[in-house]
Structures are given as C-alpha cells and as structure tokens.
C-alpha cells in the first residue's frame, strides 16, 4: 500500500492521461486517424487544389502515407494547372505547394515559363517590400490593400509570409533597416495577443465588421506561419517571448481534434511550424523526443492545506527505456486525498536553451485514491424514553446480506459505522446519505453526521411522523457513501424497516404525488363529452301557423277597406310613354321588395346592397319621371 502510489507518477509525464485542466496532449494517433477521416478524397481526387494542398500538408506533417493513385491523380491536376496559361496566382501558389510535397515529375521549362508570367515582378524587390510594408499599421496589424482602411491580424500573417517570400527571392537587395522595422511590427503584433486563464495565448480579430471573419484558429495560424517564414529568411533570430509561444502551442493542443478540414489544417500546419522552430515543451507538440532535461518537483501539497508542502524540490529520475521521468520514493505520509504537484523543467544543455521554450511552473492536480476501511457498522432500534436498545443488528456493508428491523413511532432507529483511511486517519467522504423508501415510492433522505472516525445517524420517529406523511409499512433502507478518492464507494440496500405509525389526523398533509410513468403521459386520455347549450323552447308549430294566418288577415282587411272606399285607378296615365314608366315604377318597387325577400331567405348583405344600388338608381329615375308627369298633370288641372 505504501509503495503503490509511486508508479502513478509515471503516467503523468508520459502521455498525460490525467483529466485535469492545464495538461495538453501532444498529437497522437487519434489525430492521425481523424485526419484520414476528414481529408477523404472524392472520386479519387480532391475538389480543388487548395483542398489538395491542405490534405497533403497535413498528411506530410502527421506522417501518414498517401496512396499511389491519389498522388497520381493530384499530380495530373497540378501539372494541368501549371501548364495552362489561365490559372490564377492562387491556383499557382497551391499547385506549387502540392508539387513541393509530391515532387511530381515535369519539365523544367514549364516552371520558368510560369514564373515569368506570374505577377511577382522581382525586378523591383525593394519596391515590393516597401509597398507591402506600407500597408502595416502602428499596432502591428496589416491592411488588406491600400484602398481598404480595415486592418486585420490575419492580414498581418499573410503580409509576413509575402515579405519573407520577397526576401528569400532577392535577399541581397533588401535594406537591413527595413527588416528591423518589420521586426518592430512583429513585437507590436505580439502586444495584441489575447489569453485565456489557463495559460493559452491566441490571436483574434478585434473588429467584428469584417466581411469574412476569420476565427482565432485561422488568425493565429496565419500569424505564426508568417512569423516562421520570416524568421527562416532573415539572418539574425527573432526574440519572441517564450511564454507566449508556449501559450500559442497550448491553445492549439487544447483544441483537441477539430472537426473541420480547414481548422485541422490550420492546427497541424501551425504545430509543424512551431516544431520546425523547436519551441515546445517537455514532449514536443508533435510527440517527438525531448532533449535531456532536468525535471524538478518543486512542491507538492494537499489541496486543502496549501501552505504545508509535503514534498519539496525533488528531482525526478529519467528512465531512458520508457522516456519518462519518475519520482523514486514518496514519503510514507501520503494519504488518500487531493493534491497539487508543481513541476519545473530546465533544459540541461545550455546551448539548446535558446532553441526550446519551456513553461515556468506547471501545476498538476493529483488524486491519490485508496481503499477506505468501513467497519463496525450496526443498526439498532432504541426506545426513545430510556434510550435502551431493543434490537441491534450488525451490518455487513461489504457483503450482500440484508437485515430487517421493525419499529413503531415511539422508538428511534440508529445506524452507525466507522471509516478510516489506509493510513488510519479520519476520513470525511463527500457523500454519506441514508435513504428510506416506502412501498408507495415516497422517499426520505438523511445525511449521516460524523465526528472523527465515527459516523452515526439517529432517526427519532416521534418527530418524523409528520414528515413521513403517517405512512406505515415497509421502508427500504439504502446507504450511500462516496468520495472521489474512495475506491470502494458504496450504494447499497441494507435491508428494510417495518414502521408502525399512527393514523393520520384530518388535516395531515398528503404525500406528494409520485412521478407518473412517462409513457402514460402520451397515452389516450379520458373522453370529454361536450355539453351543448340546451335549445330554447319553441312554441308548437300549429300555434305559430295560426298566428301567421292571423297576421296576414289585416292585409285583407286593408284591401277590403280600400274597395269600400271606392278607390279607382282613374289617375293612371293612359298615354303610352308615361303609362310605361308608371308600370315600370310599380314593377321596380315590387322588384325591390322581392330582393328583400331573397335577402331574408338566402342572400347576404353585400350582394343585396350591390343589387339594391342598381335597382335603387333605376327606380329613382323612373319614379322621378312618373311622379313629375303626374305632378305636371295635376298642376295643369289646377290651373285649368
């Protein structure tokens, strides 16, 4: 037991399996298999030269073999692009990149033809350098073009790559002063770097109004690409802050395995750049071997007692076979619990100190787990008045046996046990619960209190009668004891207790409704019968018909009365035209009344009104003619 904690340290430095923040995994086989999945060629080749370039570079960096057919297909498209005269500079750039990786055979002349046709006029290298430099800004970022006032960090990366290309093609002509100015720009660019709390650094765009917003991944990778390209072409070295480079590496490793081909390519390309410049930590980011280092365990302390460090300044020994560093002997006082280990790495060879950048102090949380002893567990039923034990049974928490006790509301139930660490210290687990569950699935949970090593809980049923909703019957007892560092955490049904509680009084609270089986929620529900409004009582039909006849009677009375009065139609115009008009007038009135009847029977108001408009106008015209004729006739009579 005392020596087993030693070997666990082996694990951290090897591939860092610990699930703790601050540990960044180097590229591993899972990356390689993900790369093969992502960069799948379609129909034997890639959709565009840009994709082909990204895929091939990723494969090259990760060390994945390419199939022969794939290489042939890509070479064909590359040669086609290089030989055609209408390729854009972007296509040519990608084609040349692919060619550099695959080394497709071709005629040398085509290259020279193409380079003379490309837009890169090397005759004026200094002028080109100046014009690119002119687009830079004071905060280290670059503008995309002289017309566009927006600046971006991504553009800075592209600009640095372009500048390095210019310098590599015509290095003798560039003034050292200009190179110094670019180096100042790079320093200013690093001032704009952003960081997360866990020590990762990254570049991101400040403004959000870009048309094509590049994410932090693409931005950072473009900047680092530019930096590495630039540093490879200039004679003296760039002094970049080591911790920031380390932070950038951590950022990219912390991503894990990206799902998008572009992000994947960015990540892998950047890590390759960093690798080539040899600026990484204990394991280099791509997993290659570290140079000889001294790794010191500066401090180790328990997370609860940060001031007392248990180990101080222990040097870790190197095991050349496994390429890991391990701690030889650990003090015997290492008990189970949560600790934090602080490491420091120094490169032994002083020459290589400038080449490698190491982190300063790395903190690693460690969990030391072990088997916790639980002993002396017993359950007892006590009489509340005297405190005497009525029944007591021993519990075997490690085994499978269950106990059964019975109690009434005047008694108490007591559960007790003892817990201690392997080294004999008191141990307080994160969880120590006792749960009583009734047959009707009503549950009650209690926390088991502790004092030192002894854990005990006493349930006084007299006070809990109301809480238990007066439900008598069988309660299953479940004990839960658990902790992160406890290897033998337990969740066990330890038996049942038959509780006899008194009858509930009138105003006792009901137990809360238990959750319903979720499938019944969507089952058929009770049928609702809609109660319609009872129709009003109507009079008997005969009565209504009788009164209908009665209502029509006065009309007949009117007609008979008219006849008795001796009405005549003498005033009806006799000559043709007025007579026609008179007839039409009467017909018009009849038509309107008929329209009203139709309206009542089946028409709606809108059609009625529309028709009424026409009829009304017609009637007015005709009526006017008729009545004016009558008026003039009677006026003639009067005057005559």
């Amino acid at each position: 037991m005392a020596r087993s904690p030693l070997r666990f340290l082996v694990l951290i430095l090897a591939i860092s399996i610990c699930h703790a923040a601050g540990i960044f995994h180097p590229i591993s086989d899972s990356h390689r298999s993900a790369a093969l999945d992502l960069f799948k060629p379609v129909d034997g080749s890639f959709a565009s030269l840009e994709e082909a370039y990204e895929a091939l570079r990723t494969f090259e960096v990760l060390g994945i073999e390419k199939t022969a057919e794939l290489s042939k297909a890509i070479c064909k498209s590359v040669l086609g692009t290089l030989e055609s005269s209408s390729s854009t500079p972007k296509d040519l750039f990608h084609a040349l990149g692919v060619n550099g990786i695959l080394k497709c055979s071709s005629k040398e002349e085509t290259f020279e033809d193409q380079t003379s046709k490309t837009d890169l006029h090397l005759s004026d290298a200094e002028g080109t350098f100046r014009s690119i430099k002119a687009l830079s800004q004071s905060d280290g970022r670059w503008r995309y073009s002289s017309n566009n006032p927006e600046s971006s960090t991504f553009a800075a990366g592209i600009a640095l790559e372009a500048l390095s290309g210019v310098v590599s093609l015509a290095s003798s002509e560039i003034d050292q002063f200009m190179i110094g100015a670019v180096k100042n720009d790079i320093v200013k660019l690093f001032d704009s770097i952003e960081k997360y709390d866990d020590g990762t650094f990254y570049f991101d765009e400040k403004l959000v109004n870009m048309r094509e917003q590049q994410g932090p991944l693409a931005t950072t990778s473009s900047v680092v690409r530019g930096l590495t390209a630039f540093s490879s072409v200039i004679t003296e070295s760039l002094n970049l802050p080591g911790d920031k480079i380390l932070g950038i590496a951590k950022f990219f490793l912390g991503i894990g395995i990206p799902g998008d081909t572009k992000n994947f390519f960015d990540q892998v390309d950047l890590l390759a750049c960093l690798e080539n410049n040899r600026q990484v930590k204990v394991n280099t980011v791509l997993g290659s071997h570290a140079p000889p280092l001294t790794v010191t365990l500066v401090r180790a302390f328990s997370s609860s007692a940060r001031d007392n460090s248990i180990i101080e300044n222990q040097e870790l020994k190197f095991d050349p076979q496994d390429a890991v560093y391990f701690l030889d002997d650990l003090p015997a006082s290492f008990d189970v619990g949560e600790y934090i280990f602080v490491f420091k790495m120094l490169v032994q060879d002083s020459e290589q100190q400038t080449v490698y950048a190491t982190g300063t102090l790395t903190q690693v949380p460690i969990y030391v787990t072990g088997l916790i002893k639980i002993e002396n567990a017993k359950i007892a039923v006590l009489d509340s008045d005297l405190g005497s034990v009525e029944t007591q049974k021993k519990l075997d928490l490690a085994g499978e046996s269950t106990v059964s006790v019975s109690a009434n509301h005047l008694q108490k139930l007591r559960l007790s046990f003892q817990m201690s660490t392997p080294l004999g210290n008191a141990f307080k687990p994160h969880q120590a619960f006792l749960r009583l569950r009734h047959e009707t699935k009503v549950e009650h949970t209690f926390v088991v209190g502790s004092s030192g090593k002894k854990f005990e809980i006493t349930l006084d049923f007299l006070g809990l009668v109301e809480k238990f909703f007066y439900l008598s019957g069988r309660y299953d007892i479940q004990l839960t004891v658990g902790d992160a560092v406890m290897e033998n955490s337990l969740l066990r049904e330890i038996g049942y207790v038959e509780l006899d509680l008194p009858e509930p009084p009138e105003n006792a609270s009901r137990p809360p409704p238990q959750p319903v089986d979720p499938y019944t929620r969507y089952g058929p529900k009770a049928e609702i019968t809609h109660i319609f409004r009872a129709p009003e009582k109507r009079p008997p039909e005969e009565l209504s018909l009788a009164f209908l006849v009665l209502t029509i009677l006065p009309l007949f009375g009117f007609i008979i009365g008219l006849l008795r009065l001796g009405v005549n139609l003498k005033n009806f115009p006799t000559s043709a035209v007025p007579a026609t008009f008179a007839v039409i007038f009467h017909l018009g009135i009849a038509a309107v009344l008929l329209l009203y009847v139709l309206f009542w029977l089946k028409l709606d108001l809108f059609t009625t009104l529309k028709t009424l408009c026409f009829l009304g106008v017609f009637l007015m015209v005709v009526g006017h003619r008729t009545l004016s004729h009558l008026a003039s006739a009677s006026a003639k009579l009067k005057s005559a």
Binding site: K537, S544, L550, P554, F558, L565, I589, Y596, W600, L605
Partner: protein, 132 residues
C-alpha cells in the same frame, strides 16, 4: 215624511235625466265625428286605413309574443318595429299631403309620396337585416 219621499223621487229623476243626457251627448259627439270624418278627402282616408292596418298587425304580433315568449327577440322587434315604422311614415305622408296644412303648402304631394316610398324601402331593408 211625505216631503222626504218626494225629495228622493226628485233626486232620482234628476240622476236619470243626467245619465240620459250624457249618453245622448256621447252619441251626438260620436255622430258628429263620423260625419266630419266623411268629409275628408279619399286620399287621406286611404292613408288612415293603411295606418290602421299597420297598427293592427303590430298588435297581433305583440299578442303572439305574450303567448309564446320572446325567444327570437330580434325577430319580434323587427316585426313590431316595421309595422310601427311604416305607420309613422304614413302619418308623415298624411301631414304633408293634407291640403289644409299651411306648413306644407308648397310641397307637391308627389314629392311627399316619393319620400314615403324611399323611406319605406330603407326601413324594410333594415328590418329584413334584423329579422334574422
């Protein structure tokens, strides 16, 4: 004693005479009204007859509602109000057509009749809409 009986007799006779005269007066009044009415022009009599017809119809509808209850109340209202409305329009027509009425001396009766027809048509449109 004999005097008192005679007084009572005289009172009785007086009362009988009063009653007879009241009855005779009422009859005379009625007769005078009838004769006066006979003198009205025929047109006005037609309008009066029309009015009586309308009111009578309204009365029959009210009696029906009193018997069976006012369940489709809108129908009852529209029925009654159509009768009452047309009666009112007839009254207006009578006033305007009456030659003895100084106020409407210059209004030609045909014009009044045209108004009557138009207003009746509008009234009946509304009534039909409300009838339901």
């Amino acid at each position: 004693m004999y005097q008192r009986e005679r007084e009572r007799e005289r009172e009785r006779d007086y009362r009988e005479e009063m009653a007879r005269s009241t009855g005779k007066d009422a009859q005379a009044l009625f007769h005078s009204l009838r004769s006066a009415y006979a003198a009205t022009p025929t047109t006005l009599k037609i309008i009066d007859l029309y009015m009586g017809f309308a009111v009578f119809t309204a009365l029959i509808q009210v009696v029906y509602m009193a018997i069976v209850g006012s369940f489709p109340f809108n129908s009852f209202l529209s029925g009654v109000l159509s009768c009452v409305g047309t009666a009112i329009l007839a009254v207006c027509l009578r006033i305007q057509v009456n030659k003895d009425n100084k106020e409407f001396k210059d209004l030609p009766p045909e014009r009044a009749f045209a108004d009557f027809v138009l207003c009746n048509l509008v009234l009946h449109l509304v009534i039909m809409n409300f009838l339901g």
